[in-house]
């Protein structure tokens, strides 16, 4: 007589299991199938096409009522099994108790509902089954309905794309820094984000939900950072948990999932489990491919076989029409791992392979996933790829596929893109010169004047010439920014502007970076270039800054920090000195030193104490001296005409005005000033980045000094007659340097490259340009003149830096 087999859960895994059993021995078991959902097996992974309207529910049913009847499967749908009795060997739902010889638990997973206030409001739903889809579709009927999807993983994005397709206004909240972080690296996540944003889906990364707002139904979602998004529905897609409740109640061995052995048997020899509800060798599964393997193994074993389940590499694809995305294997970086990155800026393609000991262990691709299967096979086979290495990234059809073109970004520039700013030469002008017969770089330069002034566009000019002349032209070797890129600093700066690149991942994709996320050389440089190019728009990336700039203090050899408040122009007051003295006492500051920059340094402060000491100094009216910044440092002054018998002008007052105008500005390197009241030069103005010497007839503006590793005397930029002119010219010069110099070049290095005459032309002779430069500087300052100490001491910015994650030091002391 047939044995009695009871299966709990009619999902993707159990559907397969039943097929295996019926195919191999239809008479072995009397099968009874319970399902909590009021329907039988359907293709759950096709719910997204149902949501977007590309398919109907009928299209995705895998086993119809007739099919169950024909195959003698007894079904109890809409009946969740609530108890299992191990001794009596029965399972019980609300209206049936059935005995079993063998029992299979295939209960899948339950969506994780994040425990925030408002989670039970009507309108909050998960995305797991047909009922959820129907609820979403009902909400789409309302005009201008808004949906917030919590979770930017695979499911959340499919839900978002589907809801958008149905006409809803959709916002996705995601806690990580980029979308689908479990499957994608940051670069691919960024491309995906751009694609979704193009479809008008709002994406909020690092968005932590604080509460869902509403009386009896949802109205809005509130984030930790205070942002509020209105919502008619909220779709929670924040992960899944194995549905293990009945197994736990029974006392089976359950960790995160129901623990099974290689043959899919639980800790009870008559009870088996398959699908997302299981845990096998510490692993959980959330994709169908391995579940199908499990179903096959269990099917065989229930018929007396002895098969074992061994998981294979799995790949993921996002089922959003038009977003081609593929990821497989392990794509994190590590010590013995190498990566091959391919970017095609024009087609928006990104591919990355992770290789360990000549074997591909991971692959991510976006935009062109045609070769995904080929790479997946290589991962599974652990094939040695050393022979193929050079062309590997181009896939199996290398013969027909062209390798990436390093000039693609320049080739894609429009004809009116400016190449040489000094002489107003566009890409079109250069190409026209070539059409007109110019057949060398020099000829082009002569005809158009491109790159004949400051020279920072030399690289770009040469590249446009190469595009125009083709293979006949050999590009001169350019000094690239670092090993991650083929572009020089100057090229990158220019392309940031002409291509309007506004984030680091944007730059890396569009300029075809050769690594996935840059290195410590290029990241700080790119961050600065963006800070300078897009004031008020660009969100500073603290993790691309050196520690001193990240925590606004100078790190010391023992890991403590030094704190230097501003003393405007070197002037202080008894109150300030008292506040400094009090702070030194209160925080046990071991060393208080007068610096070479005319101010006081408190050295040896514990990182955790920084916000508190800043708070105290802020209370006394002092702000950060930015003694750590690639930015404005000090303005040294002498006593000047107020007190000195030789003083010709108010050097102290001018120094203070300069410092008040310029503090907070970031620049390629540090920027130091001094103002001396007469040519005796007590403020040492002649070795500063910008120095001013006051004379009877006005002010000599001197630039390009240095007194560090190189010693340079300043040169005269111009002499002006009024304080206003001195201030304007100083700001214009600073801005010219900020916009043009390569990262980590002090002004003297930059002037050596572009020439002092060119600098004079830009900010002395061309009065309009001087005003424009000064104007851009002041505009930028409206965003950057914010005391970074106050933001951290009183507003809790970057609070994570200054407190430990956990403290066990006292535990042991007890």
């Amino acid at each position: 007589m047939a044995q009695k087999l009871v299966i709990i859960g009619a999902g993707m895994a159990s559907g397969r299991l039943i097929e295996h059993l019926l195919d191999n021995d239809p008479n072995a078991y009397d099968i009874t199938l319970f399902n909590a959902e009021p329907r039988g097996n359907y293709n759950r992974i096709m719910l997204s096409p149902v949501l977007s309207g590309e398919k109907t529910y009928e299209d995705i049913i895998t086993h119809s009522d007739d099919w169950y009847a024909e195959n003698n499967v007894t079904t109890y749908f809409g009946e969740a099994v609530t108890t299992i009795d191990q001794d009596a060997k029965t399972v019980t739902s609300k209206s049936h108790t059935v005995t079993y010889d063998k029992l299979v638990i295939a209960t899948g997973s339950a969506p994780f509902i994040i425990p925030v206030p408002g989670k039970d409001l009507s309108g909050v739903m998960a995305y797991r089954d047909l009922d959820d889809v129907n609820k979403m579709l009902a909400a789409c009927d309302k005009k201008n309905a808004k949906a917030v999807v919590i979770g930017g993983g695979l499911l959340g994005l499919e839900a978002a794309a589907g809801l958008k397709e149905q006409g809803m206004d959709v916002t996705v909240l995601h806690i990580a820094g980029h979308l689908m972080e479990r499957q994608l690296d940051p670069a691919a996540g960024h491309l995906l984000r751009k694609e979704l944003e193009n479809r008008d889906i709002k994406i909020h990364t690092e968005g932590f939900t604080k509460a869902i707002l509403g009386e009896d139904k949802v109205d809005a979602v509130l984030l930790e950072d205070g942002t509020i998004y209105e919502a008619d529905i909220v779709v929670m897609s924040a992960g899944i948990r194995p549905e293990t409740r009945i197994a736990t109640d029974l006392g089976l061995h359950v960790e995160r999932g129901i623990v099974v052995d290689d043959g899919m048997q639980t800790s009870d020899p008559n009870i088996f489990a398959v699908g997302e509800c299981i845990e096998h060798q510490d692993q959980l599964y959330g994709l169908v491919a391995p579940l199908y393997d499990q179903a096959k193994v269990l099917g065989a074993n229930l018929l007396g076989g002895d098969e074992i389940f061994s998981p294979v590499e799995i790949s993921t694809k996002l089922k959003v029409t038009g977003c081609d995305l593929f990821s497989a294997g392990d794509f994190a970086e590590g010590s013995d791992r190498e990566e091959i990155v391919f970017r095609d800026a024009v087609r928006g393609v990104y591919k990355r392979l992770i290789i360990q000991k000549n074997i591909i262990i991971g692959a991510v691709m976006y935009g062109d996933t045609a070769d995904g299967g080929w790479f997946l096979q290589k991962i599974k086979d652990r094939e040695d790829i050393s022979e193929l290495r050079d062309t590997l990234i181009f896939g199996p059809n290398f013969a027909s596929g062209a390798p990436s073109d390093p000039l693609a970004a320049v080739a894609a520039l429009p004809l009116d893109a400016e190449i040489c700013g000094c002489n107003g030469v566009s890409k079109g002008d250069i190409l026209a010169a070539i059409e007109g017969g110019a057949d060398s770089l020099d000829a082009v330069k002569m005809l158009t004047k491109a790159s004949t002034s400051c020279g920072t566009c030399a690289g770009l000019t040469a590249q446009v010439v190469q595009i125009g002349l083709g293979d006949d032209f050999v590009l001169p070797e350019a000094d690239t920014i670092c090993k991650c890129s083929d572009y020089s600093h100057d090229d990158v700066r220019k392309l940031i502007i002409s291509k309007e690149l506004k984030t680091i991942p944007d730059i890396m994709q569009e300029l075809q970076w050769k690594t996935s996320c840059g290195c410590i050389t290029c990241r700080p440089a790119l961050n600065y270039y963006l800070v300078c190019a897009w004031p008020g728009e660009y969100v500073d990336d603290g993790q691309s800054r050196y520690i001193n700039e990240r925590v606004h203090a100078n790190i010391q050899k023992d890991g403590t920090y030094s704190v230097v408040p501003r003393m405007w122009g070197g002037i202080t007051t008894p109150d300030e000195l008292r506040a400094i003295a009090d702070a030194a006492d209160k925080y046990n500051v071991p060393t208080v030193k007068v610096t070479g920059g005319q101010r006081i340094d408190l050295l040896g402060i514990e990182k955790e104490d920084l916000p508190a000491i800043w708070y105290d100094l802020n209370e006394a009216g002092m702000v950060s001296g930015q003694a750590y910044a690639k930015g404005l440092r000090t303005v040294k002054t002498c006593v000047g005409s107020d007190h000195c018998r030789f003083g010709t002008q108010d050097s102290t007052g001018l120094g203070i005005q300069l410092e008040k105008a310029m503090w907070g500005a970031w620049s390629p390197h540090k920027f130091k000033l001094a103002v001396s009241g007469c040519p005796r030069n007590c403020a040492e103005a002649t070795c500063k980045d910008l120095g001013i010497i006051c004379v009877d007839s006005g002010y000599q503006i001197l630039v390009g000094g240095a007194a560090g590793m190189d010693l340079r005397e300043t040169e005269l930029l111009a002499q002006v007659t009024t304080e206003e002119e001195a201030l304007e010219l100083a700001c214009a010069f600073y801005q010219l340097y900020r916009e043009g110099a390569q990262y980590l070049h002090r002004p003297y290095k930059w002037i050596a490259k572009v020439g002092l005459d060119w600098v004079k032309g830009q900010c002395v002779e061309d009065v309009e340009n001087r005003k424009a430069l000064a104007g851009r500087f002041h505009y930028s300052q409206t965003f950057y003149q914010v005391d970074p100490w106050a933001e951290r001491a009183s507003k809790g910015k970057d609070a994570y830096e200054y407190s430990p994650l956990a403290d066990f030091s006292k535990v042991a002391a007890e």
């Binding site: 992960g239 996320c517 993790q543 520690i547 994570y800 535990v811």
Partner: protein, 112 residues
């Protein structure tokens, strides 16, 4: 005996940043990478004691803030020309929470 203790949420550490866990033997630096992996190593550079939690993270490496030695977060080994290593600690991430095996740094607790 393992003694896993919840030390906080993954999201308590911003992407590509680090925080410290204080222990009787000194600080441990806990890093969150761009791909949301979490690693823990001693917060002390073998060169001259630089606090590694303050370095710049790139890929799965950390550059010491004092003299730019680079360490692999997976193994704690110095990379490139430099030699030396930092101790690594076991991290488990479950449901967005970070668990550390306290027996690795508080031996007394394990003995109980």
């Amino acid at each position: 005996m393992n003694d896993f203790v919840d030390i906080g949420a993954v999201e308590d550490i911003p992407v590509r940043a680090a925080r410290v866990v204080k222990t009787p033997q000194g600080c441990i630096a806990v890093f969150r990478t761009a791909t949301n992996k979490v690693y823990a190593i001693d917060d002390k550079c073998p060169h001259k004691g630089g606090p590694l939690s303050n370095g710049i993270q790139h890929d799965e490496s950390i550059t010491c803030p004092l003299h730019n030695w680079v360490f692999d977060l997976n193994t704690g080994q110095a990379k490139g020309a430099d030699e030396g290593s930092v101790k690594t600690y076991t991290i488990k991430v479950t449901d967005g929470r970070i668990l550390m095996d306290t027996s690795e740094f508080i031996p007394e607790m394990a003995a109980e």
